[in-house]
Subunit: 271 residues, 2 copies
DNA sequence: CTTGACTCTCAAGCTGCTGGAGACTGCATA
DNA sequence: TATGCAGTCTCCAGCAGCTTGAGAGTCAAG
């Protein structure tokens, strides 16, 4: 019979861990002196301990290990557990590989530019958004602002309050400033159905903008620099081995008179 | 100015996380109503939040991110940090890949045998062990027990108390039962220097057995089945794409009269 | 009998949140 | 004006697998 310290040396498992396993009932000592409370272990417990370590190495939790060792699980259930683990670990591997790629990317950027970028691009999961929207082909990109205002001035008097920032969707595969096919979308409650026409005579469509994975970034400042953002985001997407999977959106997050200047979120659905 | 819930919707970060970042000082709200305690955020804070998310995606801790964002770290230090991260993640990737391989291995084993093995083999890190040892070529493997006893009966009267279980080292590249080159090692304190000869006239050597990574397993039961353990451990090592990197050791963990029967630990240095 | 190494039992800490309890606040409706 | 009710606030606990530390008791040797 060994005291916990000697046993710890033999099995090369820290004393604190042995005590923890003992508390969990995962590896109870062979005997405990009722007077001193000293734990006594025997060499015969080493196989069990090794089984614990091996299963832990497979990524199983101590609780799962407990179940396996003490409840004498049927082989089928064990197989199921391991298959689950396999999937889980496979997932983690690819996540970590992606993370590694991101870090290396960032390192290259730092080496070449000697600093971090000002705007960051991040992957986010977008939800489906019920909206009312107007779509039009504009001959002048500057008219987008007017179109937005038009929409608001039709919705407000009709008692329809957008429940989130309005955003535009650019339907052109290529950006064409002389014929800009743009849709302005106002998020609304699902209950909204009847929508008036705009003062300009345009009619709203009621639809749901589908969500999903998107590369997202924030542009802060004057609007005319925004094409640089598109360039950067395009590069980012190809760098990360993703593909554009939908039309880009721009969400206008500030009121027109915001003292901090305009803030725009650019979203690129990807897959 | 947005309340926390609206801001949370915009940036798609849970309210609880925003509150946490606020408490850490990582993303303090633009203002806090002193009466109600309500946090108010502005769209201008989104770039900072995105930076936080992007850095978190690289695997940096919130504390590190804090330092990067607020202390305006020089690019050099940043590079260092990222290189460290890269190494760390690379390590994790290969660990997880190894784990995946282990799980798949185990799954194959279960499919073919329909149960878990009785003895587990685990990788452990051995420490350097100062020992006194005797080495001899035996014509009969059975004589190992005698050799061990011989050693003890020379050490004890000399006042030298081994501080751990004695173990044997098998120096044969191939197991040859008619000429077994075996060394019996008794772990001793570093202060021990002078060692007597054995009753049989053999002389001890004072040396340090080098540690390192080893595949380790426990054999419980009669000694004559031990060759199976060697077979299994050899297969395990090649299965795990490791290589034998030293002579195998056997540690005798029970006293000869232990009621639980003998327990032996078999160790194979690997790399 | 003392010393020093070991052991015991609690409790807290790590990381990045999440979830819940109990109390307020703010806006909209009856 | 009262009343909801959704949103917000501040704690506090929990996760997983230990590790660390405090304060107290135990064991073997000198």
């Amino acid at each position: 019979m060994y005291r916990i310290g000697e046993f710890s040396k033999i099995c090369r498992v820290p004393v604190s861990a042995l005590r923890y396993y003992s508390d969990l009932g995962l590896l109870p000592p062979e005997s405990i002196d009722p007077e001193s409370g000293y734990r006594y272990y025997s060499a015969g417990q080493l196989p069990r301990l090794n089984r614990i370590l091996a299963l832990k190495d497979l990524g199983l939790s101590l609780e799962e290990i407990s179940a396996i060792l003490d409840e004498d699980l049927p082989a089928g259930e064990l197989r199921g557990m391991l298959r689950l683990k396999r999937a889980e670990i496979g997932q983690r591997v690819s996540e970590e590989q992606a993370r590694l790629a991101r870090v290396e990317n960032r390192l290259r950027m730092i080496e070449s530019e000697d600093r971090m970028p000002d705007q960051e691009i991040v992957l986010k999961e977008l939800e489906d958004v019920p909206v009312v929207s107007i779509r039009e082909v504009l001959s002048n990109p500057q008219d987008v602002g007017m179109l937005i205002a038009d929409g608001y001035s039709a919705l407000m008097p009709a008692g329809i309050m957008p429940i989130g920032a309005c955003f535009s969707i650019y339907h052109d595969p290529e950006f064409d400033p002389t014929a800009l096919d743009v849709e302005i979308a106002y998020p609304v409650a699902e209950t909204v159905t009847d929508v008036p026409d705009t003062p300009g005579g345009r009619s709203f469509e009621r639809r749901v903008v589908r969500g999903g994975r998107a590369a997202v970034t924030i542009h802060q400042g004057p609007y005319d620099m925004i094409d640089q953002v598109y360039t950067r985001i395009g590069k980012w997407i190809s760098d990360h081995e993703l593909q554009i999977a939908g039309e880009p959106q721009e969400a206008y997050l500030t009121a027109p008179d915001d003292p901090g200047g305009p803030v725009t979120e650019i979203r690129f659905p990807v897959a």
